[in-house]
């Protein structure tokens, strides 16, 4: 009886790991898309609205889905209040927030680097220059997005079945 319960538990755990992995593969392109939307919005805010950066980021945080909304809200808040520990320039606030929030997202190193690079220029130059930097980041993210979609097609189903099969293997070996 105890053995049976153990087998069930191992199988369940293995399947869940596989599903989680698959969900990460599925979430990555979706979140990159979210970032692209956010950047597009930022571009509009900068070029037409000339909205100040803290306010623009706050608006963006209201329109993107969960892990990204927290990220942008965090940056915006640390820009609005004045505190030495959260950083005083956009670059410091941006880096700190991205480093803190990245593990919550399904995104990988390539996107992170593109975003960090954007953070080091944001708010520091004239409008034309800002738009150029945002467009450059958009291009990089688009490349990452297509790679992420490839990965999703290739590995999403694979990791799902791999989780269950791996669990089955462990069960067989134990028995």
């Amino acid at each position: 009886m105890l053995k049976f319960a153990g087998i069930i538990l191992v199988l369940f755990a293995g399947t869940m790991i596989g599903f989680l992995q698959a969900a990460r593969f599925a979430a990555r392109p979706r979140q990159i898309r979210g970032l692209l939307h956010a950047l597009q919005r930022l571009e509009t805010e900068i070029s037409y609205g000339q909205t100040h950066l803290p306010e623009a980021l706050m608006r963006i945080s209201g329109m993107v889905p969960y892990p990204l909304s927290d990220l942008f809200a965090n940056i915006s808040k640390s820009l609005m209040k004045d505190s030495a520990e959260s950083g005083e320039t956009v670059r410091e606030c941006w880096e700190r927030a991205i480093n803190a929030h990245w593990p919550e997202t399904a995104m990988k190193k390539g996107e992170k680097e593109a975003m960090l690079r954007l953070g080091s220029t944001l708010g520091r130059s004239g409008r034309e220059d800002q738009l150029k930097h945002i467009r450059l980041t958009t291009l990089q993210l688009q490349v990452e997005e297509s790679a992420a979609r490839d990965d999703q097609n290739r590995y999403e189903k694979l990791s799902r079945s791999l989780g269950m099969l791996g669990a089955a293997l462990v069960v067989i070996l134990i028995i």
Partner: protein, 381 residues
């Protein structure tokens, strides 16, 4: 020193500035931050350098030195992390922050077709602290009243920078719009509608359109609006009785002022100059003065902490001017030896501006001779 202003400074700089002695903090006028150079403050018409522990010193070598990182952070904070949103201000060389404080910037200019298009590598900041001095206007206003029209005369306030022009014009605007004339004969005049064209956001220090300084109940502010256009907009739709504008000097400003005075509106303006001969040496101001646009001039000068003012009416000004013209260089023969820079075209300083301002000359009263001949002769002609 107001607290919101301190929040603009990066922490390290703020720690230094918060520790400067109270007597200097009370009368602080400017904070000058220059990258990799000594931190300077000016207060009560004197200046000092600031050591790292906040004490003042005469020797710049002992002073606190602002690093590049601190200057970058300061620039980001004064522009609210959005340089792209203040490009127009950067082109003019200053940013105005909440509270009406103006921050002058020095850096490297970028030219586009010979016109300054941007300022970058900003390494010098001059934080000018704006203060409302309620009561300043009450000393000056009684001298500016027009008892016949029961309002203020067309006035130009003249002084070099940093003598309190903006402070005075702000308090005058408040007095007019709240009907405080400070004169016994003017007790029942009521108040006037005041339109303020606040190109540099210094007079009203508007935040989202609402003035943060007290400008009285009947004032309207066009924030960050070019003076010439702003005056026309005011005339068209806001029906002001008095128009207030800061630092006139461009030909289009003069044109708008002509429109205003002929539309039955009183004009209260300021200009940078030291004295009357400076006013007459600036092309646009000279034109305005010659046409007798301003009925009186207020000259501000400063002795220690006290600001002195002197009111000069237009007739006195013209009198002084004629004395001055008798010794102008233009009156001497061309080949006469000139004591200063003979090669410089000195007369260009008073040459008319390329944009000619066309104005109707003011109608002069007909001079009647005792037997009425003069009038008849005029009609025959």
């Amino acid at each position: 020193m107001p607290q919101p202003l301190m929040e603009l400074f990066p922490t390290t700089l703020r720690l230094v500035l918060e520790r400067i002695p109270a007597f200097a903090r009370e009368s602080l006028e400017e904070i000058r931050i220059r990258e990799n150079r000594a931190l300077e403050i000016s207060y009560g018409s004197t200046y000092s350098f600031v050591r790292e522990d906040g004490t003042l010193t005469e020797h710049y070598k002992e002073a606190f030195v602002a690093s590049q990182e601190q200057c970058r952070a300061l620039l980001e904070r004064v522009t609210n992390h959005s340089i792209y949103a203040v490009e127009e201000e950067l082109r003019r060389g200053y940013v105005t922050v909440p509270g009406g404080h103006r921050i002058g910037l020095a850096g490297r200019t970028i030219l586009d077709k010979g016109i300054v298009s941007h300022l970058r590598d900003i390494a010098g900041f001059n934080v000018r602290i704006a203060r409302a001095r309620i009561g300043f206007g009450s000393e000056v206003l009684p001298g500016l009243l027009d008892f016949k029209a029961r309002t203020i005369r067309h006035t130009l306030i003249v002084s070099p920078p940093q003598q309190g022009k903006t402070t005075l014009i702000r308090d005058l605007a408040r007095c007019l719009s709240s009907g405080e004339w400070h004169h016994p004969a003017a007790r029942d005049w009521g108040s006037r509608k005041v339109g303020i064209v606040d190109e540099r956001s210094e007079i009203a220090a508007s935040e989202r359109g609402v003035p943060t300084f007290d400008l009285g109940p009947r004032s309207d502010v066009l924030d960050a609006c070019p003076k010439a256009e702003g005056i026309m907009m005011m005339l068209r739709s806001l029906s002001p009785e008095v128009i207030v504008a800061d630092e006139i000097g461009r030909p289009e400003d003069a044109e708008a002022i002509y429109e205003a005075i002929h539309a039955g509106v009183r004009v209260l303006a300021t200009a940078h100059a030291t004295n009357l001969s400076d006013v007459l040496a600036r092309p646009v101001l000279a034109k305005l003065a010659e046409d007798g646009v301003f009925d009186c001039y207020v000259f501000l000068s400063r002795a220690g902490k006290k600001v002195e003012h002197r009111i000069v009416t237009a007739e006195e000004a013209m009198h002084e001017k004629s004395r001055r013209y008798s010794r102008t260089i233009g009156a001497t023969p061309r080949d006469a030896p000139s004591p200063i820079h003979p090669k410089l075209p000195i007369t260009s300083a008073v040459a008319p501006t390329p944009t000619q301002v066309t104005v109707k000359a003011r109608q002069m009263p007909v001079i009647r001779s005792p037997n009425g001949d003069g009038l008849r002769g005029f009609e025959d002609a």
